[in-house]
């Protein structure tokens, strides 16, 4: 029995083989690299990660992203980047990376009185 699906942590894509889908079949799908898609929903907002897809090249990735992720008016701008170029932190490092921040509440700017005129803070 072949292992058809290898599971990865979210955002933790291995660099050797882009994509977690390993199968025997000759389908072209497996030859196409995986791309991460970022969509800007409105002018002035950030591009946000929308998901990933397979494509043969950047042009196709953008068009696939247009068809897969912006069919319902979700975006005004698309970025794509091949997944293998994203370097991710290791989930095993979570303790040393994030936990030390837990007891340092003084890093939050919550001790200021905000004037009423200032909104959206």
């Amino acid at each position: 029995m072949k292992n058809y699906i290898r599971k990865f942590y979210y955002g933790d894509i291995p660099e050797d083989k882009s994509g977690g889908n390993i199968s025997d079949s000759k389908a072209t799908h497996n030859d196409w690299p995986l791309w991460e898609v970022f969509i800007r929903s409105k002018q002035g907002l950030d591009h946000k990660h929308a998901g990933s897809l397979h494509a043969a090249d950047a042009q196709m990735a953008i068009e696939n992203a247009r068809d897969v992720y912006t069919r319902r008016m979700e975006g005004v701008s698309i970025w794509v980047v091949e997944s293998k170029y994203i370097h991710a932190s290791n989930p095993d490092d979570a303790k040393s990376f994030y936990e030390p921040a837990e007891d340092k509440v003084y890093r939050y700017p919550t001790f200021y009185d905000l004037p009423d005129e200032v909104k959206h803070m």
């Binding site: 389908a27 799908h29 196409w32 494509a55 042009q59 068009e63 696939n64 068809d67």
Partner: protein, 250 residues
Amino acid sequence: MNNYLIQYTLNLADNALILGHRNSEWCGHGPVLEQDIAITNISLDLIGQARNFYQYAAQLKADGSTEDTFAYLRTENEFKNCLLVEQPNNDWAKTILRQFLFSAYQFYLYTELQNSKNDQLAAIAEKSLKEVTYHLRWSSEWVVRLGDGTEESQQRIKKAINELWMYTGELFIAADYEIKMTENGYGVDPATLKSKWKEKVKTVFEEATLAFPVDSKIQTGGKIGEHSEHLDKILADLQMLQRTYPGCEW
């Protein structure tokens, strides 16, 4: 004159509906998920265009016809779509090429139709042109990808060219309703689109390292209701429900 306008509008509608239906046959069968979604998106665009034209034709006819009766209750020889759009999907290369050849035609047609003296046709053309611009771009890139791809992909697209080329000539031969509608400034004489279309196809074929075919035999008839056996099968599928359960809704 009204009758010619109805026929002209139905030709535009039928082309969009039948190609839309053909593409929809890929739904759930696309070579990869992303392209499955892409081709069915194009389907929906085309069926949306068909609806706009059918609604207008129904309004002109004013005899109780609706967009549904046009799509579901007409017989084969009442459909005025060109032969190209009813050709079977076969493989991805043929589907892509059919889309490319037709989108290029539709692109120049709608571009001109925007200037129609008929406000309704001009408005539908303007709205649809944005969609067609994308269809043309998408299919052009696929033609290049297949033509300049692997040995197999090139073989397949070449086979598709051999099979489809004879149906392209019909696009540019005006039917009587097209001639009448050109005369009063409502429609576009398709013959005037041919050189631009040829130029576009040539450019893309060149990039795809594909030879531009020499003019061969031309198959005609679709635009005046004389269809290949393929339309029969499409209609059997498309109309089955309304024919079996007239007036049914869900």
